[in-house]
């Protein structure tokens, strides 16, 4: 199935602003991120620590809703879903 990946700020500079990816039916956000890490070693280094865990400052939205990286990463995605990847907001 086809999903869309949006990346912003530092992650945009690594992944490009927008790409569509063909992933297997009912794949999870976690599997999608792993696939991106495989395609892009720079993304792997930016987003994951040595133990393979997602770094704290990687923020995610699915269909423009913030998701909890612990609870929601294993939920299966659906055709046409949009995953956004970005660092912390600009803040103060």
């Amino acid at each position: 199935m086809l999903v869309k990946v949006l990346a912003f700020a530092g992650f945009r500079e690594i992944l490009g602003k927008e790409r569509e990816l063909e992933i297997k039916e009912a794949a999870t956000a976690k599997e999608l991120l792993a696939e991106l890490a495989q395609v892009s070693p720079r993304f792997k280094e930016a987003a994951f620590d040595e133990s393979g865990a997602l770094r704290d400052y990687v923020l995610l939205m699915i269909n423009r809703k913030r998701i909890d990286p612990i609870l929601d990463l294993s939920r299966p995605l659906q055709e046409g879903d949009e995953l956004a990847i970005f660092p912390p907001l600009a803040g103060g």
């Binding site: 949006l6 912003f8 700020a9 530092g10 945009r12 704290d56 400052y57 939205m61 423009r64 956004a84 970005f86 660092p87 912390p88 907001l89 600009a90 803040g91 103060g92």
Partner: protein
């Protein structure tokens, strides 16, 4: 009105829209690019998500502080030192509410709205974050 835009905007126009005969107080926040040794700033938005979040914040502020109007503009793209980045205009019956509403919107914007800024200096560039 809520706008995320590459173009410069007129604060004057925003204030004009916020005026009304029932408003006794209009408070405005204008954020500009401060010279911290940088050459320019680049602002980037997740536009659709940012627009939706700003609408939510505006609604919260309007009802919490009984605002008559709340105008929000945020720019994206390359901005020189001194240029406007963001403006918020709130009108209310009394000044307490107008000040609180304006403050609320800028604080929530900074916390919740998917916007990023990169400082571009003579010695390189860096994304501004809260980490």
């Amino acid at each position: 009105m809520i706008k995320i835009t590459e173009e410069d905007f007129s604060l004057d126009e925003m204030i004009k829209r916020a005026r009304s005969k029932d408003a006794g107080a209009i408070v405005t926040f204008l954020g500009t690019v401060r010279d911290d040794g940088m050459e320019r700033m680049e602002a980037e938005a997740f536009r659709e998500a940012a627009q939706a979040e700003l609408e939510a914040i505006q609604e919260e502020a309007m009802s919490r502080f009984h605002l008559m109007a709340a105008e929000i503009v945020h720019r994206t793209g390359s901005l020189a030192v001194g240029e406007s980045i963001v403006a918020i205009v709130c009108s209310a019956g009394h000044r307490e509410e107008a000040f609180s509403g304006c403050r609320y919107i800028i604080e929530e914007l900074k916390k919740r709205v998917p916007l990023w800024k990169k400082e571009v200096g003579r010695d390189g560039e860096r994304w501004v974050g809260r980490t």
